[in-house]
């Protein structure tokens, strides 16, 4: 299962990197602060509370289990 997922991921990534390249001068919209692929700094509290109150954590740039007595 993991091997199959790895292969799918590799093929997908390989094909994506050969997509049409957006040049830096064409990235005006992508550089909009709301287009960032991370959470805002002020979202850190929301992520922190969720990691205390829910069993799942991680894969969101926030806490994933260490540094607190949370789940």
């Amino acid at each position: 299962m993991i091997k199959k997922l790895s292969m799918v991921a590799l093929i997908t990534l390989g094909s994506l990197t050969s997509c049409t390249v957006v040049k830096e001068y064409e990235m005006v919209n992508l550089n909009d602060p709301d287009m960032r692929l991370t959470s805002k700094k002020s979202d850190r509290f929301e992520i922190s509370y969720q990691s205390y109150r829910e069993a799942a954590s991680g894969a969101n740039g926030g806490k994933s289990g260490g540094g607190c007595g949370c789940n």
Partner: protein, 478 residues
């Protein structure tokens, strides 16, 4: 597990198979000037399933947090970040480590000869005035980032420290990110280690029983009647008496966490980009919370307080009787978590952006979870943006979860912490952001660049709800 570590290695191969970015790049400072973020939040919650009182009782809690983040450009390529904060909370359930209407000092060895005045009572539905009703959590992190001249290689490292009255944490980590394909693609790797330690606090009846040689006429129990399920006072010197099932408490106070993260992001078009990220988290040590009680369904029940309230123990009308714990929660000393997340953002037009997030999570404690988040920033004029958002979360129960009075004493592991139960939740949020890129408002040398405000309402399908406000200010030094 082992195979998962193959993925990062294969991804490394993809990165370098794509060749080196040879384009000459204008070298812009990574961070133009010093930035100061002041972030605050206020959180409140309530529910009916407090873990400290064995899965039944008030979960009322408030928390006020302030963080300050200073980002300092050391030169064109390097940024030092200092991040510190303090969190002050009050918790009704934590206060019920000692739920009784006498301070814990009254039960100390020195005071054990003195009988408390008046009847001793307590309730899982009433916050106690005990010392554990509130605490401070402080944390500090120092981080360092270095970017290569062409900005295609970013190296990072950090150390962290956190402390609260029953818990301390020391952490460190590092990361590497590589941009290629004309910065259309980014691959990143992170590793973090947290070396944490409990200073365990226990339910008062259990620690008093152990500290006083299992004597029901000393400590907490000195001069205090213990009642059976029918409300009758038991003979403390008889054979049918209350006792915790296990007098061995936390043996290994360490709680270590090791995490590896792999992230991949890709620009799809001039208006769309996505990222996927996988974490593998391994935790070792004492993973249960020693404050949290468990009541077994296959053992007799015993109480301290008003016998008339025993039949309504699980009702909020119970204000004056408290059930003695059978044990603290027990959980395996190892846990492996696999969260897999993805984001997709789409720039609709100059007014609207769509931000989406999905996470699948599973761990070897039997928890499976899905998280979906949607946020649609709407720009209003040049300076204001509205942030309506919705989040749906669902999880299955951990293998060891048992609600109040349903765990079995024959089990090796058990918890009545409803955060490990099966539930789903909906979260509705609205935020507003003010941005002034020209920093017209000044406090001394600090120019105000941004203000963020957000309110979220969180509701589970299990009688639990919460709300949180956050407010953030970003200043830059002009």
């Amino acid at each position: 597990m082992k195979n998962l570590f193959i993925i990062p290695l294969l991804l490394f191969a993809v990165v370098f198979a794509n060749g080196q970015d040879t384009s000459s790049v204008y070298k812009k400072r990574v961070l133009e000037s010093l930035e100061l973020d002041i972030l605050t939040s206020y959180f409140f919650q309530d529910g009916d399933n407090a873990a400290v009182t064995g899965g039944i009782g008030t979960e009322e809690l408030t928390d006020f947090t302030t963080d300050i983040v200073v980002s300092i450009p050391l030169n064109d390529d390097d940024v030092l970040t200092i991040d510190g904060g303090i969190s002050a909370y009050t918790s009704a359930s934590s206060s019920n480590l000692n739920p009784f209407n006498k301070s814990s000092e009254a039960y100390d060895e020195e005071a054990e000869d003195g009988n408390p005045d008046g009847p001793v009572t307590g309730s899982p539905w009433v916050a106690s005035s005990g010392s554990s009703k509130g605490d401070l959590w402080i944390h500090a992190t120092i981080g360092y980032n270095h970017s290569s001249d062409n900005r295609n290689n970013i190296y990072s490292g950090h150390i962290s420290f956190a402390s609260e009255y029953d818990y301390t944490s020391f952490g460190f980590g590092g990361g590497y990110a590589r941009l290629f394909n004309d910065k259309n693609t980014e691959l990143s790797f992170k590793a973090n280690v947290y070396l944490d330690k409990w200073s365990p606090e226990y339910p008062i009846e259990i620690i008093s029983y152990i500290n006083h040689g299992e004597n029901l006429n000393a400590g907490l129990f000195n001069g205090v009647d213990i009642l059976d399920q029918n409300g009758n006072v038991i003979d403390k010197n008889g054979t049918k008496v209350w006792s915790p099932i296990n007098t061995t408490l936390v043996e290994n106070k360490n709680r270590n966490t090791y995490s590896l993260s792999v992230g991949f992001s890709q620009i799809i078009s001039k208006n769309a980009q996505f990222s996927v990220f996988l974490d593998v988290i391994q935790q070792e040590g004492w993973l249960a919370n020693p404050m949290q009680r468990v009541y077994f369904g296959d053992r007799d029940n015993y109480y301290i307080g008003n016998p008339a309230s025993i039949p309504i123990y699980t009702s909020k009308d119970n204000k004056d009787v408290f059930q003695l714990a059978d044990d603290i929660e027990r959980l395996p000393s190892s846990r492996t978590k696999y969260p897999l997340g993805a984001r997709f953002n789409y720039y609709v037009n100059q007014f609207i952006v769509v931000r989406t997030y999905y996470r699948y999570y599973y761990d070897n404690w039997g928890v499976n979870s899905h998280t979906i988040n949607l946020e649609v920033p709407i720009k209003i004029g040049m300076r204001f943006t509205l942030y309506p958002s919705y989040r749906y979360y669902t999880q299955t129960a951990a293998d060891y979860f048992a609600p109040y009075e349903t765990a079995l004493s024959t089990s090796q592991f058990y918890t009545s912490d409803n955060d490990l139960s099966a539930f789903n939740s909906n979260q509705y949020g609205i935020g507003v952001s003010y941005t002034d890129i020209f920093t017209g408002f000044h406090i001394g040398k600090l120019g105000l660049k941004n203000i963020d405000f957000k309110y979220n309402y969180y509701q589970r399908n299990t009688n639990f709800n919460a709300g949180f406000f956050s407010l953030g200010f970003k200043f830059v030094v002009n």
